[in-house]
């Protein structure tokens, strides 16, 4: 699949599907070290995205879709994840501008802008046990793949794999941001729900690009 507006739309539809499928898993992760709503919040948001996608104008660009997703998530998710993911997609939209087909550099820019947006709002650093711990390795892996000449599909696959590893790697951490930070040592051994949802969303991006 070429990385164009159809890809972005398909990515978002797949996102809605995987979030819905993993709703309970995300709720459970958040019950363990948060307040048990992450899966519910994300599912509500992406179901709203699904509805909104139907009204997209025919001439929409990838940036238009990302912006629509951003505003929809901001106005439906709530909690910490709503503004954070909302900002991520908003900044990603800005990064791809009016381009209609995204090459490797554009994808790296998209992911970098998304990550930077989350950091801007949430002030988390790597190792704080947040979604940043999935986003940052994903950005690094995407850059590395792109600079070693990989194609779009491989770049996304590298990002997804790194995000998944990053989510797993949050397990031994003590949290320093978000609700889990109140737990101190007791957060150890639990995966961060936001990092896990990031891994799911980036896996969706890669799978859709790979035609899977």
């Amino acid at each position: 699949m070429s990385v164009d507006v159809a890809w972005v739309v398909a990515w978002m539809k797949r996102s809605a599907q995987v979030i819905s499928e993993h709703r309970v898993e995300l709720i459970t992760l958040d019950r363990e070290i948060g307040d048990g709503d992450h899966g519910e919040n994300m599912d509500r948001g992406f179901q709203a995205v699904l509805t909104k996608l139907d009204d997209l104008p025919a001439a929409a660009t990838p940036g238009d879709v990302l912006k629509l997703v951003a505003t929809t998530l901001i106005s439906t998710v709530g909690g910490a994840a709503g503004p954070l993911y909302g900002t991520a997609y908003l900044k990603a939209s800005g990064a791809v501008g009016a381009e209609t087909a995204l090459d490797g550099a554009a994808l790296v820019a998209l992911l970098t802008a998304a990550r930077d947006g989350i950091v801007l709002r949430g002030k988390a650093e790597p190792g704080d046990k947040t979604m940043i711990d999935a986003w940052t390795p994903a950005v690094v892996a995407a850059e590395t793949a792109q600079s070693s000449g990989a194609g779009e599909t491989e770049i996304l696959a590298a990002a997804a794999a790194a995000a998944e590893a990053g989510a797993v790697a949050t397990e031994p951490l003590v949290a320093r941001k978000g609700r889990a930070s109140y737990l101190g040592e007791r957060a150890i051994g639990h995966r961060d729900p936001g990092a896990q949802s990031t891994a799911l969303l980036l896996r969706a991006a890669a799978d859709v690009a790979a035609g899977a």
Binding site: N41, G78, G82, R176, S181
Partner: protein, 333 residues
């Protein structure tokens, strides 16, 4: 999970509808997006007070909408801070020309969503300020956490800032009063049992039959430590020690003592707790001159209690005593 609900997705909307029906003399309610405002909003020339946050803490915040307290409350989904849209709409609905104060509990989600709403409001040319409450001493305030949480002290901030707005204070002055309450109130809680978020259907944490969670958050977030069940007096002593040493409160201080039930605690237990807390403060030379006892900042059906102590001066005492007419707090009217 046993709850008196219908579809978990409709919990907030149905409860808000019931609230509006039961209190039509006090409030008006909007559904798209959802918020609750004073029946007479906007009050011309008065600073508007807007608070909000996840649902499940009732009567916080809708129960405090009315004369002398909040102008609007914005309920999010259960334990999920509301999105910017309803905050924006509520802010506009209560703007009486003197600006609006956002009263925000210190949680990442609340802070970010209110921040976004405030940006949007300001862009519309409306004057808005925010105060962030972080009264929970269970969380050590440091660079290594999201900072202290806002818990039951919120009720005191809303009451006292509401009275300041009602007497005609400017936005800056109301914000200053709110900041003064925030600077002088400290809280800490304990859970005996967990709560169950309707959409989750499972307890937010588990406690053995002989365990309690000291320093519990109001979303069922685990607290400082898990210990064996103790007599009420011993539990009160723990909570109060952490609170008193924090500001610190000292002999000669005049305070308001607030014993807050977490939702599922029988009133008889709240008064057993009050008795001990008042005794311990008195023994330290700290004089309790005002009190509040009840389920005001809850975590659904959680059993447990939080203590809040607010250092009073003449101004805060007078503002506390000022008339208030809301569903959950009412006097002087």
């Amino acid at each position: 999970m046993k709850k008196l609900i219908n579809d978990p997705k409709n919990v907030v909307n149905e409860a808000v509808a019931g609230f509006a029906a039961a209190h039509a003399d006090l409030v008006r309610v909007e559904f798209d997006p959802v918020f609750v405002v004073r029946a007479d909003a906007p009050v011309s020339g008065k600073v508007g007070l807007v608070s909000g946050g996840g649902s499940g803490h009732e009567p916080l915040h809708a129960g405090f909408v009315g004369l002398g307290m909040l102008d609007a409350a914005v309920p999010g989904a259960v334990f999920t801070s509301p999105t910017p849209d309803p905050i924006l709409a509520a802010t506009k609905a209560v703007d009486g020309g003197a600006g609006v104060l956002h009263i925000v509990k210190n949680y990442t989600g609340d802070v970010l969503n209110f921040e976004t709403a405030a940006d949007l409001v300001s862009a519309d040319g409306l004057e808005v300020r925010s105060v962030v409450i972080d009264d929970d001493v269970a969380v050590k305030n440091s660079l290594y956490t999201a900072g202290r949480r806002g818990v039951a002290g919120t009720v005191l901030v809303e009451k006292i800032a509401g009275a300041a707005a009602e007497r005609g204070d400017t936005l800056d002055a109301v914000a200053a009063v709110a900041e003064k309450v925030i600077a002088n109130v400290r809280s800490m809680g304990v859970a005996l049992t967990p709560c169950v978020v309707p959409h989750a259907g499972e307890p937010s944490f588990t406690l053995a039959d002989d365990e309690i969670e000291i320093g519990i958050g109001i979303h069922g977030e685990p607290g400082r430590e898990r210990i064996k069940l103790e007599p009420a007096d011993a539990i009160v002593d723990r909570l109060l020690a952490s609170i008193v040493e924090d500001i610190p409160f000292v002999a000669g201080d005049t305070v308001l003592l607030f014993v807050n039930g977490m939702g599922g605690t029988p009133q008889i237990e709240l008064y057993i707790v009050y008795r001990r807390a008042a005794e311990v403060l008195a023994a330290q030379g700290i004089e309790v001159t005002r009190s509040l006892v009840g389920n005001f900042t809850t975590s659904l059906e959680m059993q447990g209690v939080s203590l809040s102590v607010l250092k009073l001066d003449h101004e805060l005492t007078a503002l506390w005593d000022a008339p208030v007419q809301t569903a959950a707090l009412r006097w002087g009217r």
